[in-house]
Point group: C5
Chain length 372, copies 5
């Protein structure tokens, strides 16, 4: 199989529906990656994986009920592959459209012969922005197809467990494998939420230590990410609930017991998301009150200094006036004009008065509690 080109491509976050297109049409973007198909066959005491070029002959292989199969498909750049899925496996065109239009919410749809489910995988792109990618599942009797648009994922631990053969994973059938994949996707939510919880704690520390405007930006960023996670988690919960109550024979009772566990996790995630949102809001409140307080501090400094010195400057200004006691031209004497200036100790008295005014004001501000 030819590995597809590794060039970086700018993917649009959601490929939203285009008004006017027919429903039930597979959507292949011009940037779609060449499919990378990994074929796992396994049972209790056997495990093999190989990479396929196409899925042409797969339906015959799958007829062998001795094994369970996991067909991982990454990249949607082959219309022929989707035709095969439609023709050989009887997958509805509406399902195939949902797989390729990767803006679906998590959901479960039962089609009798197969179940169709969607999970959304959270991860951070190269710019540390939260992105979420669609993982689609088609669950059959002894086979599970998974579909991802890109090549990277967080499912490696499952492949490792499948290879190692520990636990239930090789013996509990395809629905357990689907559960295990969904569960690991949900578990990454915990990691991401945990990191945001830590970040909010750090932001809170900064609020106490040296709050600046990055506090606001960072909190808002976390909050916006939380909004996006919530959009994903609520339908995820509904999906898991649907799986719990599903009548589909494809999902075994044993698997349902585990799904209940995943459902509990999902509820916990919702709890954490809501708590973190409240903590974000509380951080923002704190920050705004800190800004207000700081403004108060600034204004206090200004007001104390201005209030003390402006009146004093006025007094100094008074005695800086040039009212004359003798007209320089006519020589007329006007002894009432600023007699203070010509009094012994006039300067001393003035300075004393100024000091008293300043002291009174300081006392006033002190009693108002402005120096605390």
């Amino acid at each position: 199989m030819g590995k597809p080109a590794k060039h970086k491509r700018k993917r649009k976050r959601y490929s939203l529906p285009v008004a006017g297109s027919s429903p039930g049409v597979v959507y292949i973007d011009e940037h779609a990656l060449q499919p990378l198909i990994r074929f796992h066959s396994y049972n209790d005491h056997y495990y093999a994986v190989k990479e396929l070029d196409n899925i042409e002959n797969l339906s015959r292989i799958l007829a062998n009920q001795e094994f369970n199969y996991w067909i991982e498909i990454k990249g949607f750049g082959s219309a022929a592959m989707f035709d095969t899925l439609n023709n050989d496996f009887g997958i509805s065109k509406l399902v195939l459209e949902d797989i390729t239009r990767t803006y679906q919410r998590p959901k479960l749809e039962e089609y009798g012969k197969y179940d169709f489910a969607i999970s959304r995988m959270l991860h951070f792109d190269e710019n540390k922005n939260l992105d979420n990618e669609q993982v689609s599942f088609i669950l059959m009797e002894n086979a599970l197809f998974t579909f991802q648009e890109g090549y990277e994922d967080c499912l490696e631990p499952i492949r490792t467990r499948l290879n190692a053969g520990k636990g239930n994973i090789r013996i509990a059938g395809s629905s357990y494998l689907m559960y295990a994949l969904m569960d690991i996707i949900i578990d990454t939510y915990f990691e991401i939420l945990g990191s945001w919880g830590d970040e909010l704690d750090l932001i809170e520390d900064r609020l106490f230590d040296k709050p600046d405007k990055t506090v606001m930006f960072d909190t808002q960023l976390v909050k916006r990410n939380l909004i996006n996670v919530r959009r994903v988690v609520w339908p995820e919960r509904d999906k898991l609930n649907d799986m719990l109550r599903s009548d589909s024979r494809l999902i075994t009772d044993q698997t349902k017991m585990f799904i209940r566990d995943a459902y509990d996790h999902c509820i916990q995630i919702i709890d954490i998301v809501e708590s973190l949102k409240e903590i974000s809001a509380s951080n923002i409140d704190m920050y705004l009150s800190i800004i207000s307080n700081r403004m108060n501090e600034i204004m206090k400094v200004l007001t104390i200094i201005s209030s003390i010195f402006i009146p004093l400057t006025f007094i100094a200004g008074i005695y800086g006036m040039n009212f004359a006691i003798q007209d320089p031209v006519t020589g007329k004497v006007m002894p009432q004009n600023m007699p203070e200036l010509y009094q012994e100790h006039g300067y001393l008295y003035t300075v004393i008065v100024m000091g008293a005014i300043a002291l009174l004001q300081i006392l006033y501000f002190w009693r108002k509690g402005w120096f605390k």
Copy 2:
């Protein structure tokens, strides 16, 4: 058929009920446009469209079950037409009133012989304001009537698909055509929401780069539009849900499968609307905190400069006072009056003291972190 005059008319956004009017009365505004009737007849291998002057003889044509029919009616300016609908097709007067009073919420009503449904089409008027127009559907066995108040719409792609004959559109019956029309209307919501999402992103960029008061106005505008969209989308969702659970034989099971898809879209739209509303709110919070921060900046500048220079000016004022050491008239000498002025280096000392005060203050503000 005579094309109606193209003159621009000012339409009122909602023709609200007028207290006291009898129910079940068709409402024809004096500005109502002349009806423009387009009659499509089609089946698997046939398609024709023609414009009609009236719908007088239509009921006989529709009796031919070999074809499906789509009767597009735009403009309500003919009372006769509504009489024909009432008399020839047995459409209830209450339904006809709902068609002509174009302020209805999306809904589905089943009348046995026909189903009546309403969608609301979002578009921007010439002033870039969000407007929404009512599209009414009357679904019969092999015919679909659609009613619009104005001439413009977003349904062209359906006409194209009908003409091209690709996909299900010509073979899946009238209920599928109704679904296709509703679906395309919903899809335009995505476009509009997408453009607002982009606008909110741009606004957010402006928040970081150069926030000014237009940020507030623009965000509020988006928010108000979102409020309006939400008023339309929630009943739309209910309508689609009603269609999914409808017992009406007029809506086929195959169509319902597609309606489920439209229903999913509707839920996604609600999701997006709620997220965008939260993002708007978060932008407004950000903006307000930025204003507060900027105020802090402004006040810091004022306070630093005032606090430094006002005391210095006071000192300068002191030595600008004219206390005399010798009375110009009597010649009396008062050596205690401002002896500093007559001291060698008095000026130098004063300047040094002023510099020291300024430095101490700068240091104080520095340690308070005001220069950051």
Copy 3:
């Protein structure tokens, strides 16, 4: 019948229950108006209305099933009338209490022989304050009693339609008349909400043009009115829903079809109320951000002017100091005391330095974007 005195009276908005009074007691206020009784009898081809002094002999008249009757009672100032209602018509005392204690929420109560319903009529009192008045309905086989505390109402169009005999009103029975009255009451809500919508638009225009504090007061007034309307509309909706699902034989199926229409209107009103509330909130947010912005503007002006001139004034103050280079008494020369003052071009240099400082500051503020 003697018309009651027309003197203006101050009515209390809600006659709230008085703790300790027995239940089931008709409440007649000392300000209660003399009853004004209008008796309409009508059928398909007959209509007559006359004013009655009392309802003593009414029960015998109503036994005539050929006609439908509408007994309008306005003003509760007659205990005898309520006794007659209790004795002759078998109306429960609890119902009569609810009629006279006019603070009830809209509701429907079925008593087998009759149905009891309450609507609330919105109107503006002489001071342009929103008031709402209770209209009580007692629906019987072929008669409808309506009760209002005051003389004014908005039901005139129904009387006109009854008189004109157009539409269903004379042929569809008493339940239709009740519907028609309720519907017209609801329709006035639209008018009032429409006027508030217009007012909010005007307020928004003022926000852009010249926002002042009346914006806040006016918006709050609208908001408070909306709170009051919501208190009325929600139970109104429940009442209409109860009527739709009622098993009472007094409400005909035909009427229910119309009630569904009224129910739709009610939902629309709730929609509009919620939207207007959100628009109010958004106006208030806008206003607060405008105040903050304006504060920023004000502070910028203050800061720019103060920051430029305070340092300059300080420099001027420096050279206004009177440090002497020659002691006037001893004649001692101190050439270091303010030598700048005695330097050629000293003044010019000082002015140049001042200009440079001012320019630097203007440049600083310019680059901070304060002049935008």
Copy 4:
């Protein structure tokens, strides 16, 4: 019976559960009042009341089915009494615990032989703080026990009606008496809410006339009280609803008709509480906007005066500088040093320039709308 001491005691508002105590244990506080037992026996044509010392022989008296009994118990200071209730009347210890631990929410519990209900009575303590006291009811076939912790209550009107024998109260059985007591308790809520409504109106008036910070404190006080009332009213509503739907034979159908009335009142109270909360919030919003506006006013005054006079003072400062045109020591003439000072009309020109600057600024502020 010895009346208990009347000394004022400090009661704790809620006697919250103490961790580790056994359930089903009667809780008697050391401050518990001596029981004050009032025994009413009544039927259609008889009424007697007497005060009892204890309830030892009561069970035998109650066996007489000719009368209905109301046993009012106030004060819980007797363990023996509760033992009697447990032994003679078979009241569960859990019920007795709930009676004595007076922090219960309103509820109804049915125990077959008796029904147990709790209401909460609102009143203001001596410091005008809202307090609420538990009233417990034990409803039996022909007897009603009521329990209150303190001696004061709002039930006097019921005693009066019982004595007077008017209305249903003496003939409709014990469940009607319980209803009447509950109803009067609910009716006091109206009074209290009405007084807060009036207070909010007064606060709103003060907002228009002279808003000061007491507005905030008073509004918050009302709001907090509303929060407390809501905590009581919601479970009250649930309790009344439980009573309406109760299968207990102890609550008669006739009583249920009246309970429906009380239930309606309860809904109205919830309505009013929610409205008042919204009005409080709106008052607070108004107040905050008024503060902001006032700040704007203050800053405008400061900015106008500072902006006008600071530049003028600077100019005056300029011409207050002492640059000399002749060195007093050397006699050197420097005619460029402040030639303005020695120009004819220099002073006049300066004053004109100052006036012009002031006028320009006033014009600028005028056009900015700062004088409005």
Copy 5:
């Protein structure tokens, strides 16, 4: 049994799931404490407790139905113990995983042979931070296992009651013991909430007396703790509700009567949490309005003093100008240059004018109400 080392250890608050781990695997942290096993056996007239080293032979002892057993296990540092639980007692691995991964929400799971429940115990760690610890219950026919990660707990009163043998605790079976333990855990919530209520009251007092920024921090701390408590209480309520409606034969009807009591407590806690949250929010609102008010006060002081003295200083500055009436060099006389300076009483008039200006301004501010 060897007591484990008492060294302080830093525990992570939640051991969140690690993505990729197999489900159903017991999780033993490297810091896990050595198990401390306390074995209580009791019946109506017998009680003994001893400490065990392991639970190897326990299953045989438990077969003796004459006694009830409580096996307290604290510390999870023994994988062997969990193997025994799985092998000897048939406890599901998923349950054991939930016990050891101590981040579970309160829940009830029924497994037929045993019931599994989780409570969360609130306590404060050494730094006065709210922490909550998981207590897991496995309820069997005549035995109750409890599991705690740490050694400290709040369950001592139960041990005391068990030892004392008072009340139901020794006779009502294992489900009653489980109830009693859960109940005491819930009761500690009341204590903690009570302390926060007191703290909020203290904060409110500080708001009135001397509000500073610690008010904000302290309120936010309480609020955040409330958010955490709410995350615990809601699922606790659901768990108790599940227990009430459980069909499990392990929970007796008598116990359910008590659980209803605990359920009531839980509802009360939710009530209190919500009220305290509203009070926190109201405190924060108050605080913000106080800051704003204080800012107004500060600005008033600044504005009054500046507005009065800046114009006066300007006037003083005017007469401090040195416009000469005689050119010192040329001797030219310019009598229009500042004639005021050479006028008799010029100084007096100036001072009078200054006083008048100051008075007018004081009057102006007085009438604006700025001195209140």
